[in-house]
Amino acid sequence: MPIQGTVHKFGDHVDTDVIIPARYLGTTDPGELASHCMEDIDADFVKRVRPGDIIVAGRNFGCGSSREHAPIAIKAAGISVVIAATFARIFYRNALNIALPIVECSEAAESINAGDTVEVDLKGGVIRDLTTGQDFAFAPLVGAAQDLIQAGGLVELTRQRLAAR
């Protein structure tokens, strides 16, 4: 079942401090974190975002702090997938670990506009911009990253491994 939603567009180097500022790290509650997601670069994001919506961003998305609160906030805000030209490494791992789908595709990141309706087929490796009619292909995950998505995140994968010991 492909993911479908409206696009919220961001630029390069969106850091985890703006995804969820440190002043809100007093909580680990996903809903509370989500209520402040992106507020320092897009004060209305939380008001606009609808369940299933999609973030499209430029290079190095999620750079900076290792705070897992960042992908947690994005996921709890209702975002179904983050598409970016590239991701910062720690954010990339964190997103996979909590089973927040992420897709690296620079062509899509460049061409898709804010407000477009976009469909993403994670297994098929296709992003479809339904507003412009453009299609974009992306490479599927490999190795340990693929194992994580198949298991539904690192908690589940580790639970299976611990149980098998």
Binding site: H13, A22, N94, L154, T158
Partner: protein
Amino acid sequence: MTITEKLLARAADLDACRPGDFVTCKLDMVLANDITAPIAIDQFREMGATAVFDRAKVALVADHSTPTKDIKAAQLVKKMRDFAREMGIVNFYEGCHGGIEHIILPDFGLVLPGDVVIGADSHTCTYGALGAFATGVGSTDAAAAMATGECWFRVPESMRFRFSGTLRPWVTGKDLILYTIGQIGVDGARYRAMEFVGETIENLPMHERFTICNMAIEAGGKSGIIAPDDTTKAYVDQRAKRDYVMLQSDADADYAECYDWDASVLEPQVSFPHLPENARPLSAVGEVPIDQAVVGACTNGRLEDLRLAAEVLKGRTVDPNVRCIIIPGSQEIHLQATREGLVELFLEAGCVVSPPTCGPCLGGHMGILAEGERAIATTNRNFVGRMGHVTSEVYLANPAVTAASAVLGRIGGPDEL
């Protein structure tokens, strides 16, 4: 192989590995702090884990919001403390025994050359200065590692940065790393290991090597690394309570990119808002008045950093329009700084001396900026809103430039005093 490939192969029990390989490594230390540990603890329990893999190989450090800044922070630290007690974790640090994680773990001999370490803090890459592979992860990775003692990695490509020449006065390891990030950008080393070599690096003391590796993440690096040598050995031998191995890159190791820079021509660097890559030589800074100056953080909160700031502040007074905050990186450093007279010197110069904490670096507490305010800091990040209000600004610099700026009331160097 590079030193990074050798470290990962060794921990994965392999003869060799290459960039792009996926390897599962045995970990020598797993770290989390008061921001990241609470989520890790929830995930650890969610995984069905009931014990940590090794009580001596987990470190939990309360440093980000300590001394606890509010009830929420106190609850998070309490959760971590309770977990540490329940699990019998040996290396739990807070308050009177503690300090900033990336300063105390090396200082207490808990990370050593040859180790493979992960930490739920992006600046875990600091330990590369010891010749260890160390990288930041999130809470869930830390949770799985606490349970299993293992972590998977994609073996990174390595980049080599060679510095030659003698540094000018007031130029430090901080300036070398700010310059490096300025040259390659905040994603210039994304997913890669940054290996620092050359006579300039070999002549650097440990504290400056820590500063360099600390900021590898600010170029997107997976890790920073400096091959261990006699300087490393002298530092480690005073602290190590177990055996360690010193590895080196082979002469024919493969690098994705190599840079050769003449360090003797570099000036102190200042990184302008809002990215660490906006580095400029001090002479190109122009007139930038400041409201606050901060010396501290896992980047530059070591005793030698305080000595450098003190050398500049000695007999001088902080500008009346500037709050100058000095944050020793640990209780030990604070005590030694007191014994050496540094604390008295700072107080006489008009500085506030804080207990050890990450505090203002991440906009937590102990020096938060108001709307439109500007700080110069020895910290490692100058993102939008990093030290406070979304319109505030952070300029990154070394301790000497930060201290001089506190006296001048604007960004400037010790030579202008």
